[in-house]
């Protein structure tokens, strides 16, 4: 007794002394920095420093990104609230069903010792999650119908998975309905869980289950009210520990009422067993197919968002870049938001090359990366890729956080290497004696030409005063315009005057023009310089750009 008291006193003194020594860390003044600082501030600063030493500062940033982007999908919320709501419903509905229902044998006992699937809150939750998934899918389907962009971009693998998902959910709901109704299941349960075979007790229980628990059981004729109370007692003794009232299954229960008229036939065929088998097997099928469909984004998108937290692809170590691009490709869900915001998407209305649209271009890049793109497809992909202006809007809007701009730059380089350079390089190869490409490039639209370049009135006022060249910002940005641009604007006008316009097609000034219209606005002779450059570009494209039909016809 004495010894333990002494030890306690000694410990007390030691702790107090330690506290006193530690307090002096925040009270003593060494150096000029702590002049005028309160003790509270010094304590706070020390706390921060300690945390900073133990945990890397980026940890907080990454945690915040994890929480905001991956768990709460906050970047989707900022873009479109309705889409966020649909996606959260579907995403968490499916995830929680998998976690709490499919894997209930492993997850539930961790938290609940007396878990049984027909207990609440699990029964209700199961129905609720299924409802979430259905609501999300339905809402998404309605939005898809109303937005034209989605009509362009559907694939069969994605349709299959959606079908499987629908089968799983619906079969699960109907399975529960069948089980609520099934007389055979009741009998099996009675055999397994009731201790004795007292027929009165069984009858009372049956009565209870027929009236209160929704089972499609024959109610024995001429019942005495004592049976009702006895039924309840029996239920509480044998069943209630594992069975909540089925009315809480707000999806399955109403359906079971609806199916009650045919319950007898269903039970005779043991529909409930068939449904269970279907539900189970299709779930396994969906699991197996998951990595081969777009739902692989369940894994790829969070990883991609985390990778993005570290910075753009160009900041990643060289050896990691290709892998990160591949990860990005797999994170694509084909949602089409990039196409919706693409600056050059309107070109698709005139040039029917799907590779102009970023969501389609990405599929092409996926095939290019897998070396599964034939030459014809690479040609179309090249034309679409070089129409892109790298403005970066797709990258900003992509909900999966894919660094699309980097992907386009990388795939462009690959395409050049494989022999599919930008189309204006093909334009440079056109000489006046070359035959024209087939006229089928621009189907159904009038030629985009004001007819300026063929009319002498356009140029005959030009006196080569070089005002257009001196106001051109593209010329001003170059140290040596002839090295970088081949010709200056007034020299291109001179070619027009000499009726040598084909020679302008290949010069880089034509393609680097940013259409600022300074030249046209400042020309003292009202020569339409910028409009002429526009027309020359359209003419060169008409002659040099490939159409899908032309490629199919095998022309070069």
């Amino acid at each position: 007794m004495l010894t333990s008291n002494v030890a306690t006193i000694a410990l007390g003194i030691c702790l107090a002394g330690t506290a006193w020594r530690i307090s002096r860390w925040f009270l003593s003044d060494i150096g000029p920095e702590s002049d005028g600082l309160s003790t509270g501030r010094r304590l706070a600063a020390a706390g921060r420093a300690l945390l900073g030493a133990l945990i890397h500062p980026r940890f907080w940033q990454r945690s915040k990104i994890f929480l905001w982007e991956i768990v709460l999908q906050g970047h989707l919320l900022q873009q479109d609230r309705l889409r966020w709501a649909m996606h959260m419903a579907m995403c968490y509905g499916v995830l929680l069903l998998v976690l709490l229902h499919a894997l209930d044998d492993w997850t539930a006992p961790v938290f609940f010792a007396d878990y049984y699937p027909t207990l609440n809150p699990f029964r209700w939750l199961r129905n609720f999650f299924a409802f979430l998934v259905l609501a999300g899918v339905l809402g998404t389907a309605i939005r898809h119908r109303r937005h034209i962009r989605f009509k362009r971009i559907r694939s069969n693998a994605d349709r299959l998975i959606l079908l499987l998902l629908a089968v799983i959910i619906v079969s699960g709901i109907v399975l529960e309905s069948a089980q609520i109704l099934s007389a055979s299941v009741f009998e099996e349960m009675v055999e397994d869980y009731m201790g004795d075979d007292d027929p009165d007790e069984v009858a009372a229980l049956q009565h209870y289950w027929a009236t209160e628990m929704g089972a499609a059981l024959p109610v024995p004729a001429g019942e005495r009210t004592a049976d009702a109370a006895a039924g309840q007692t029996a239920h509480e003794a044998y069943c209630a520990a594992c069975h909540s009232r089925p009315q809480t299954a707000f999806l399955s229960y109403p359906i079971s009422r609806f199916l009650k008229p045919v319950a007898g036939m269903m039970d005779a065929l043991r529909i409930d067993n068939w449904l269970w088998t279907l539900h189970y097997l299709v779930s396994c099928l969906a699991l197996a197919c998951l990595p081969f469909s777009k739902f692989f984004h369940l894994l790829a998108t969070p990883l991609n968002l985390l990778a993005r937290a570290a910075g753009p692809v160009s900041d990643s170590p060289r050896a990691f870049r290709a892998s990160r691009r591949a990860l990005g490709l797999d994170a694509c869900t084909h949602c089409g938001v990039c196409t919706e915001h693409c600056s050059v998407a309107p070109f698709y209305r005139v040039i029917p090359n799907p590779a102009i649209l970023p969501s389609e271009k990405l599929s092409g890049v996926q095939r290019l990366a897998a070396a599964r793109a034939p030459a014809a497809e690479m040609a179309l992909l090249s034309d679409g890729s070089f129409t892109c202006t790298l403005c970066g809007r797709c990258t900003r809007w992509c909900p999966s956080g894919i660094d699309l701009q980097d992907l386009w730059q990388a795939s462009r380089r690959d395409l050049i290497q494989k022999g599919f350079p930008p189309f204006y390089e093909r334009a440079a190869a056109i000489t006046p004696s070359a035959t024209r490409a087939p006229e089928s490039t621009v189907s159904g639209h009038p030629p985009l030409s004001l007819g300026l370049t063929d009319r002498p009135e356009t140029f005959w006022a030009c006196v080569q005063c070089t005002t257009c060249t001196s106001v051109c910002p593209v010329v001003a940005a170059s140290d040596d315009p002839h090295r970088d641009l081949d010709l200056t604007p007034q020299q291109i006008m001179n070619l027009m005057r000499l009726q040598l316009k084909e020679q302008a097609f290949g010069c880089r000034m034509l393609w680097d023009c940013v259409t600022c219209y300074q030249c046209q606005e400042h020309c003292p002779q009202n020569v339409k310089v910028a409009d002429v450059l526009y027309e020359l570009r359209n003419e060169a494209c008409r002659r040099a750009i490939r159409s899908p039909q032309a490629i199919a016809a095998g022309s070069s």
Binding site: S470, D480, P524, N526
Partner: protein
């Protein structure tokens, strides 16, 4: 599609942003007249920056005057229809004084001898007679008397300027000229004077240029460069280069594209709005103007109307053919905005003589708007067309400014006279000009 145009009211609308248009707006602003100015890129961009008063009269005898005022007096006597005769020597003197004072108070100082023309070297090596020239070109005049050894510098890639050619042409007149060809710091390939001038507005490029020139100096007592010493900060570039090289530096005007006209244009475009002129640059008058009570109503804009202007008086300084104030087609010469009567040869076949360099020039150059004593355009019978429409500049008839070497004087003096006449119509007493 109807567009809503803001409506602007003013006392005076100046149509034109050339030498005459800018001078008109300047004099009007100095007199406190509420002025709107409208104009497009035109002839001022291509000016040499030299202000000619009178160089040659009579043109047929190629007589050059060393005292321009004597020349003007003779001209007025010989050609009473010439605009100078309408203006009068005293007013011409006042106008030039006011104009040069303005330039001196801005960032573009000019020099002149009050009673003597000066001489400037041209890019082909000849000598040109002019009245007032930028400070950066002033040194040559005195040098032509002493003819000290002088270094001329040119740059590979700058077309139309060869120091060796200048030296060869001036050889008899000025034996001790040396030449050097130096790469221009920071630019390669074909050079344009505007880019070179803007580059020299940075201290780094100036230092590099000075360092390149210095080893070539030897005992030369001055350095001649093409006109590339800056655009907005010519004085600063010019002074610093002189300090760096420790000898006088002078500029020689270049062929087009040249910055000398651009300097004047940018100077005016900066200063005039600060003086209260409501400037609408890079806009033109769109068809068709109309008259309501005693005001003109016109639409100004680019391709489409951007403003509707209601003006009590107009000074038309829209230039000649290049500035699109006059338009010549296969039949006649027309004035392009108001379709005013244009004095011209009876038939197109009489527009030109068969020799391009005929001593007396070509009759088409004498065509233009005839004016009354108040500088208002008149018809063939001498009746004023509109009482509140005035004209100034090269659009006037009975002058051949290229051959007579009187372009700037004509523009500035006629602008001055037009503003004076306009003040009477606007009902304001003539005020002393506020500088």
């Amino acid at each position: 599609m109807t567009t809503v145009c803001p409506e602007i009211e003013c006392d005076l609308l100046v149509i034109g942003t050339g030498m005459a248009g800018m001078a008109t707006a300047l004099f009007a602003a100095q007199r406190g007249i509420d002025t709107v100015q409208v104009g497009m890129t035109g002839e001022l961009n291509f000016a040499s920056g030299l202000l000619d008063l009178l160089g040659m009269h009579p043109v047929a005898k190629a007589q050059i005057w060393s005292d321009p005022w004597d020349g003007i007096a003779q001209l007025i006597h010989d050609q009473p229809d010439h605009p100078y005769a309408r203006i009068g020597v005293d007013t011409i003197r006042e106008a030039m004084q006011a104009f040069i004072n303005f330039l001196n108070s801005s960032t573009l100082p000019y020099r002149c001898h009050p009673h003597q023309n000066a001489q400037v070297i041209t890019p082909v090596g000849t000598l040109k007679t002019t009245y007032a020239r930028p400070e950066s070109m002033a040194w040559i005049d005195r040098a032509l008397i002493d003819r000290p050894p002088c270094l001329l510098v040119d740059f590979p890639g700058l077309k139309g300027f060869s120091a060796r050619q200048i030296k060869a042409v001036l050889h008899d007149r000025w034996p001790d000229l040396r030449t050097a060809r130096l790469p221009f710091p920071g630019l390669t390939g074909e050079l344009q004077t505007e880019r070179m001038a803007r580059r020299l507005e940075t201290p780094t490029a100036r230092a590099q240029l000075a360092n390149a020139i210095r080893p070539q100096l030897g005992d030369a007592r001055a350095v001649g460069l093409p006109a590339i010493l800056g655009i907005a900060r010519t004085q600063q570039v010019f002074t610093e280069l002189q300090q760096a090289l420790d000898v006088p530096v002078f500029e020689i005007p270049t062929m087009l594209p040249a910055v000398t006209g651009l300097r004047l244009r940018e100077c005016f475009e900066r200063q005039l709005p600060q003086m209260g002129v409501r400037a609408r640059y890079q806009q033109k008058i769109l068809p068709t103007p109309s008259l309501a009570s005693d005001c003109f109503i016109l639409q100004a804009g680019g391709e489409t109307p951007e403003a509707q202007v209601r003006a009590r008086a107009i000074v038309l300084a829209s230039g000649r053919f290049f500035g699109q104030g006059l338009h010549a087609d296969r039949h006649a010469i027309r004035e392009t905005i108001f379709d005013l009567p244009v004095h011209q040869p009876a038939d197109r076949s009489q527009w030109h003589r068969k020799e391009l360099f005929h001593d007396e020039g070509h009759p088409i150059h004498q065509a233009g708007l005839r004016i009354d004593a108040h500088f208002r355009p008149v018809d063939a019978q001498g009746r004023c067309v509109y009482p509140n429409l005035f004209a100034a500049g090269s659009i006037l008839a009975h002058q051949d400014w290229i051959r007579q070497k009187c372009g700037s004087g004509l523009a500035i003096a006629s602008a001055y006279a037009a503003v004076q006449a306009c003040q009477a119509v606007l009902g304001q007493p003539p005020q002393a000009a506020t500088a």
